[in-house]
């Protein structure tokens, strides 16, 4: 389950819905990771672009990996502007077993950061500034370049 929202996520509502959706599925562990916009470097907030076709195939591949371990994942992310102290990202794993859940949420969130086709911008002085210095090149980047 991957859902995109315009603007900030309604975190408590999402966490409640996901918990209730799986309340009879016999999972022993539910671990959501909630990402919230921090006040730093004088920003007013963040803004996100998402390329949905590749995000969906990336997510689908992770859902298959989860299934192999008897687990499932659910994810929500914001499009557009998200202001200070609002949340833009929730990733959750449900698993029968604790160890699987703890390892899976870590691997999933790290690969999300490295691979999910989402671009982040700082909102500052009414400008939208690409956060290149905090961004990660997708594996395989640079093949079109002169050094590629």
């Amino acid at each position: 389950m991957l859902k995109l929202y315009d603007g900030a996520l309604p975190v408590s509502k999402i966490l409640k819905e996901w918990y209730e959706e799986e309340s009879k599925s016999n999972y022993g562990a539910y671990i959501p990771f909630v990402g919230t916009v921090r006040s730093e470097d004088g920003i007013d907030g963040l803004s996100f672009d998402i390329y949905e076709p590749i995000l969906e195939s990336w997510f689908s591949a992770w859902q298959d990996k989860a299934k192999e371990k008897g687990a499932i994942i659910k994810m929500a992310h914001s499009r557009g502007d998200v202001m200070l102290h609002e949340s833009s990202y929730i990733a959750s794993v449900f698993s029968p077993k604790r160890r699987v859940a703890l390892e899976f949420i870590d691997e999933f969130v790290e690969d999300f950061k490295a691979s999910a086709p989402i671009w982040k911008y700082d909102l500052k002085d009414s400008k939208r500034i690409y956060a290149l210095d905090r961004s990660t090149e997708i594996k395989g980047s640079g093949i079109l370049g002169v050094n590629g």
Partner: protein, 73 residues
């Protein structure tokens, strides 16, 4: 025709090109000075699948996308 799209922060309009492989695309894009940095740090997808090599044939109707460095969350 092959459609080439520039995603996220790359401020460039899509191109429609007569190309049959990614080497041709590299040559064309390297002529655009504004693109040189993006070419170094962007990944390439053909029909929404990331590719790791230029040795890939492209056919009429394909879509090529450039994905600059990402930062979700």
């Amino acid at each position: 025709m092959v459609r080439v799209e520039f995603l996220g922060p790359i401020q460039k309009a899509p191109l429609e090109l007569e190309i049959t492989n990614l080497n041709q695309l590299a040559t064309i894009l390297q002529d655009d000075k504004d693109m040189l940095e993006w070419l170094e740090n962007s990944a390439v997808a053909v029909n929404d699948t990331i590719v790791n090599s230029l040795d890939i044939e492209i056919k009429d109707g394909d879509k090529v996308s450039l994905l600059p460095p990402v930062c979700g969350g």
